[in-house]
């Protein structure tokens, strides 16, 4: 997998023990309660979780105020450390908001203990392929080549 730094990094501390914050991401009833903006809903009977390395999490998000909206979330879990780490790829598809295309993003959620029974959540997400590679080669290759060229120019001349 891509080892480069994530383009999206979010850190947030919750006044709740780590087990509870981890459960919020791995228990269907919990995810139904909070994931997504206000006004969005996740019908409980459409949530399917199999939380383990190689497992998956699936649900549908709808919004009563916008009947056209029906977002399918499908998470492939590549790494799971109970209570501490979730890692994998989130696939977002279905009928999305206008101007938004389906995408896949690699993600990593880390759960860390903080003093006084609090928990720090670290979210990392990597740009979807369609933005990384607008054409053949893409940014990463282009920037790697540029790095190499600049390094070569900065190095002392031979001889």
């Amino acid at each position: 997998m891509d080892a480069g730094p994530a383009q999206l990094a979010i850190s947030r501390v919750f006044d709740a023990p780590r087990a509870l914050v981890y459960r919020a991401f791995t228990d269907p009833d919990e995810v139904a309660a909070w994931w997504g903006p206000i006004g969005s809903e996740r019908p409980r009977d459409l949530i399917e979780f199999d939380v383990r390395p190689g497992g998956s999490q699936r649900w549908i998000a709808v919004a009563p105020s916008d009947p056209d909206l029906r977002v399918q979330i499908h998470i492939d879990l590549t790494d799971v450390a109970d209570g501490r780490l979730l890692e994998g790829v989130i696939h977002v598809s279905g009928r999305l908001q206008e101007g938004i295309e389906s995408f896949e993003t690699r993600f990593r959620f880390e759960f860390h203990d903080e003093p006084d029974g609090r928990t720090r959540l670290e979210i990392r997400q990597w740009l979807p392929e369609q933005y990384v590679s607008p054409s053949k080669g893409g940014w990463s290759e282009a920037l790697t080549k540029l790095d190499a060229l600049l390094a070569a120019r900065a190095a002392p001349a031979d001889g």
Partner: protein, 89 residues
């Protein structure tokens, strides 16, 4: 100049610039669309997480308040069928 030319080839390959030829001159133009799309995606996700995590914060507070209330009820000697011994205070 060859080094600059190679840089420009790389940028053109990544669709970050477009180039046109006119006689011996080649004009290069910065293509901002790929960068703009990527920035828009990141901004959208930031808004998504900000809204979601604010909800999560409230949800976690509600869950813990409910747990504390249940615990108090279980420890309340006035509640009938209470088989949890009263804790020392």
């Amino acid at each position: 100049m060859p080094a600059v030319s190679r840089h420009l080839n790389v940028l053109e390959g990544a669709a970050l610039i477009s180039r046109t030829r006119s006689g011996k001159w080649r004009a290069s133009r910065l293509e901002t669309a790929p960068l703009r799309d990527a920035a828009a995606w990141i901004e959208r996700l930031q808004r998504f997480w900000d809204a979601s995590l604010t909800r999560l914060d409230a949800h976690l507070a509600a869950v813990q308040a409910a747990e504390r209330a249940a615990e108090r009820a279980a420890n309340d000697p006035k509640v009938p069928d209470n088989n949890v011994p009263d804790k020392e205070r």
